[in-house]
């Protein structure tokens, strides 16, 4: 603990000292690591097991408890069959299209609205804010029935527009971006205005670049939510080849396709890999909280 003890240091090199201290800390942390690994096992065992089963050419051991966690007669055979028996890449492309379109539209609609709410004075601003707040509280699932009717009236059933449009204008994103724009110093914006920039220019060239971290957060969260969305696409889409991964794979795997658990797990592993990869790249956004999980939700005006 006490840094003064370092006075004995000349006997060992600073590097060795550091190593020793790290070793001591590591030993003290052993029980903690044990707990970490134990819960890690609980978190990860379904994926681990799925991967082991997917890699097993021999399907006889996949249910026996410890043995199932190691592949037997390992090989890529089942993965090949997934591509062969399922329109995997088609589902993948659909997911990509839906998630990208949703994210782009969310940013396009949300940013100007949040900017106006936080940086402009207009009649009804308070009312609009309260309205947005109110919709956050109502379970979105309730909107499924009316939205289904709306989409069928507008001829949007079984179309990508029908999947995307209901998800692009939510109060959540506005709250997030409003927070970011409120943190932008007024002097900077006013300076741009004095320099003769139009309001759109002020937003686009000054406020948006300054709010980049929050925009990235919103983009990542929206993309993941759209990629993983199961229920709404399942309700709107009828044509199998239009399904995103989360729906197509689920339908195929719980339907007549599910002849072999090895095959099912191979499809699961294939569909989880892009999510895990994307998560590994962007996990700072999620774990940092990114302002999303503030200890107190900001309701300030």
């Amino acid at each position: 603990m006490n840094r003064e003890l370092v006075l004995t240091l000349p006997l060992v090199s600073p590097h060795t000292y550091l190593l020793r201290r790290q070793a001591r800390d590591a030993v003290l942390a052993l029980p903690r690591y044990a707990a970490l690994l134990l819960f890690g096992a609980f978190t990860v065992f379904p994926f681990w097991w799925a991967a082991a089963v997917a890699l097993s050419g021999d399907g006889s051991q996949i249910w026996t408890f410890p043995a199932a966690f190691l592949p037997h007669d390992p090989g890529w055979r089942w993965f090949g069959r997934v591509f062969h028996e399922m329109p995997f890449w088609r589902y993948f492309a659909n997911s990509l299209l839906i998630a990208t379109a949703t994210t782009a539209l969310v940013l396009l609609l949300t940013i100007p609205c949040a900017y106006a709410l936080s940086r402009m004075a207009f009649r009804g601003r308070q009312a609009l804010f309260m309205l947005l707040l109110a919709t956050l509280m109502v379970p979105a699932e309730v909107a499924i029935v009316p939205n289904f009717i709306t989409c069928s009236r507008l001829g949007l059933l079984d179309s990508y527009a029908g999947v995307v449009l209901p998800n692009v204008a939510g109060a959540f994103g506005v709250f997030l971006m409003r927070q970011a724009f409120q943190d932008t110093p007024a002097e900077v914006l006013d300076a741009a205005r004095v320099d003769g920039a139009g309001e759109f220019g002020v937003m686009w060239r000054v406020a948006v670049p300054m709010a980049k971290p929050m925009i990235a957060t919103l983009a990542v969260f929206t993309f993941v939510a759209a990629w993983n969305d199961y229920l709404w696409p399942a309700v709107v889409l009828k044509e199998r080849l239009n399904m995103p991964l989360a729906v197509g794979i689920f339908n195929d795997l719980t339907g007549p396709f599910a002849v072999s658990t090895n095959l099912v797990m191979a499809a699961i592993v294939l569909s989880v890999i892009p999510v895990v990869g994307a998560f590994a790249l962007t996990q700072r956004v999620f774990l940092g909280g990114g302002g999303l999980v503030r200890p107190r939700p900001s309701c300030s005006r």
Binding site: W63, V142, I249, V293
Partner: protein, 293 residues
């Protein structure tokens, strides 16, 4: 603001508002309207029927059952919160590799619920991995494996276990953010005064975390009442796992009774709004916690 015409503001808001009105605002109003009408999906015609749907729901054994299941789902809230807090305390320390564990615990949150459910269906099968595990540690004997997702006594709890696994990481991050705001001075003072780890947790950390605990509890309470997708993807509502929103979904898309579904949806909405009112009372601008009460 100087020099900004209100018309500009409306132009900025209009695109968002148009889509928002059609797909968020309209559904709520339409749902309210539909709750008092008979709706015929084939023709799109509808007819006022007074409070007939409400009466039907009050008499409906199935809806009563679904409501009861939604309330049973609330049993998930305490383990979820205690688990998330324990996890947050576990990964709060600065240790090599701790970032890896944080990411690991958050992983189920970012996996699609449908994909995760397929694996859990296999794990919880009658002859699945979990029963083999129980057998190998001699918790159950051969031939008495429970059918976790098919047994009316067990299925709802199995769904809750899945929900715990899927969501605990989310609340962990919530508590992790909260732990970062716990002031250091009282912690160190307590340590100098000889308080052990449990006493510091009990008398310093937990009081400081109180707002987060309340937020997490309320969020997970609402989430439990809204329990829906987990049920759909794991059991499809079979084996007595229908919750209130599963009932809404089933009545609408399989029973084709949109009016009745809207009424049930309205009741769930009202319960959630009441809970949200409680939440705002605690967390709002003039909330009890802001006034230190």
């Amino acid at each position: 603001m100087p020099g900004v015409h209100p018309r500009t503001a409306y132009l900025f808001i209009a695109p968002f508002l148009a889509v928002f009105a059609v797909f968020t605002l309209w559904p709520m109003l339409f749902n309210l309207w539909l709750a008092f009408r008979d709706y015929f999906p084939q023709t799109g015609n509808s007819m006022w029927n007074g409070f007939a749907h409400f009466v039907e729901l009050a008499d409906s054994e199935r809806f009563g059952h679904a409501l009861k299941n939604s309330l049973i789902f609330l049993l998930l809230v305490p383990p979820l919160q205690v688990g998330a807090l324990a996890l947050a305390l576990l990964v709060h320390a600065r240790l090599p590799g701790i970032g890896f564990f944080r990411a690991l615990y958050y992983l189920p949150v970012v996996i699609a619920v449908s994909i995760a459910a397929v694996v859990w269906q296999q794990v919880l099968r009658f002859d699945g991995l979990f029963n083999w595990f129980l057998e190998s540690i001699h918790l159950i004997g051969f031939g008495e494996q429970p059918d976790w997702l098919g047994d009316r006594q067990l299925a709802l709890y199995a769904v809750m276990a899945f929900s715990f696994w899927k969501n605990v990481g989310y609340y962990m991050v919530l508590y992790l953010a909260g732990l970062q705001t716990v002031p250091r001075e009282p912690l160190e003072a307590a340590q100098i005064d000889g308080a052990d780890a449990w006493q510091r947790l009990r008398h310093v950390v937990l009081p400081a975390l109180q707002p987060v605990i309340l937020l997490g509890t309320l969020l997970s309470t609402i989430q439990a009442l809204k329990a829906f997708q987990e049920v759909i993807v794991l059991t499809g509502g079979a084996a007595d796992t229908q919750t209130a929103l599963v009932f809404v979904y089933g009545v609408a898309f399989f029973g084709h009774n949109f009016g009745l579904a809207a009424t049930a949806g309205l009741i769930v909405t009202l319960v959630c709004l009441a809970l949200a009112a409680v939440q705002l009372r605690f967390f709002g601008e003039n909330g009890l916690l802001r006034r230190g009460g």
